[in-house]
Symmetry: C2
Subunit: 256 residues, 2 copies
Amino acid sequence: MTNEIKKPLILITNDDGDTANGIEVLTQLMMQIGDVIVMAPDGPRSAQSNALTVTHPIRFKKLEEREGLIRYSCTGTPTDCVKLALNEVLDRKPDLLVSGINHGSNAAINVIYSGTMGAVLEGCENGILSIGFSIVDHSLNADFSYFKSYVLQITRSALANGLPYGVCLNVNSPCGEIKGIRVSRQCVGHWDKEFAKRTDPQGRSYFWLTGHFENHEPEALDTDEWALANGYISVVPTKIDLTAYDMIETVAKWGL
Amino acid sequence: MTNEIKKPLILITNDDGDTANGIEVLTQLMMQIGDVIVMAPDGPRSAQSNALTVTHPIRFKKLEEREGLIRYSCTGTPTDCVKLALNEVLDRKPDLLVSGINHGSNAAINVIYSGTMGAVLEGCENGILSIGFSIVDHSLNADFSYFKSYVLQITRSALANGLPYGVCLNVNSPCGEIKGIRVSRQCVGHWDKEFAKRTDPQGRSYFWLTGHFENHEPEALDTDEWALANGYISVVPTKIDLTAYDMIETVAKWGL
C-alpha cells in the first residue's frame, strides 16, 4: 500500500502545429497537473475537422524527452495524431486529452470544421476525457495570459467530475479580461460570402476561403457566441452522437 | 398563372471523386427528379470529414453541360465543393443536396470522418435539404442495383416532407438484396488496431491507416449497424448541433 497519488497521464495535440504558442502554453499548464505526452502535427492543420490520412502513410518522430514531458510531431492531421499516440506510442489509455490552445474561435458551427475539436472528438470516441481549448484571436501572438488560470480550473474540475462516454468539452475564451464562465450551447449560425476570387497571371480564376460568420440568434443568452461577445468563457458539452433523436419518429412516419 | 411544376434544383457531390461509379449512378437517378448540378472533387477525398482548404487556394472547372445537367470538378474537399457551388456557381439555393453514393459505409462513428457526410452537414448548415447515400462496399465496382429504387424513394419522400433546419439524413445500404428501410440511430462503437506499421528502404517506420470497427452495442435493435447487418437500409436523422444538452445542467453544477 502506498499513499502516493498517481499523476494523470495527459495527451496533448492541436491543429496549429507543434511550434504554435498555444500548444506551448497548454503544455506548460498541463505539466502542473500530470505527466504530458505531446503528439502534434508538424505544421498548421487548421480546419482539418476529423480528416484522416488514407491516401499515403504517416510518420512521427520524438522531438524532446525530459522529466514529465515527451514531445512528438506527426506528419498527419490532428485526428491522425490522436490515433497514432493511442495505437503506437502510449502503453496505457491517457486519463485526459487536451487540444489547443487554438489560435481562433471554435464556437458555434466552427466545431464541425475545427481540427482542434476533431482531435477532441477522437479522444472522446476512445473513451478518454477530452477537452478543446480555443481563444478568439487568430494571431500567432494571441494573448493567453487571462485564459491560463481558467484552463487549469476547467481541467481540474473535469478530472474531478468526469464526463459520460461520448461527451467532451468545447471551451472558448474571449480576448482580454474575462468575466467568468458560462456553460453554453452551440450557437446557430452559418458562414457567408466565403471566397475571395482572384486571377492568376495566366488569367485563370482561383478562390481563397474567407467569409463572414452570421449569427442566426444574436439575442439568445445561452449560446457560446453570446458568452464570448460578452466577455465570458464558453464551455459547451459536446457529443459524438450526431443522431437527431427528436426526428426519428417523424421520419419513421414518412412510411419509407 | 401556369400549372407547370418547377423542377427541383439538385446539387450533387461526393468524396470518391468525379469519376466514381457512385456519383455517376446518383447523377442518373437525380436527373429523374430535377435539374442537376454536380460539383465533385477531382480525385479521391475519402475521410476528409468537414475539412476545408485554407493553406492554398482552390479552383473548379466545367466538365460537361447538357439538358438538365451541368458537371464541375473542384480541386478541394467535399465541403469546399459545396461552399464553392453555393457561393460561386449557383444563382439560387438548391432545393436539395445529395452526396455519394459513397463506396463504403458511413454508419456509426464513421459519420464524423466521412467526406460524403461532411458535404451533407455543410448543405444542412446552409439550410438546404441534404442527404448522404453510402453502400457498405468499398470496391470501385460496388453493386448499386438493389439500392437505386430506395435512393429515389427516400429522396422523393424527403422532398415531400422536408426536414427542419439543422437536420439531414445519413442513409446507408447493405450489399445485395434489401429487406426494407429502418429509421435508426447512430450506433456506439470505435475503431481499434488502427495502423499497419511498415519499414521503408531507409529503415524508418511509416504507418498506414487501417483498423477494425468495434460495435459497442451489437444487441441493440435500433442502430444503423444493426439495420445494415440484418439486410436493411439505415436512415439516421443527423444534426449539426453537437451540444450535449443533457449535460449542460450537470457541468453547470461543477461550479466553474
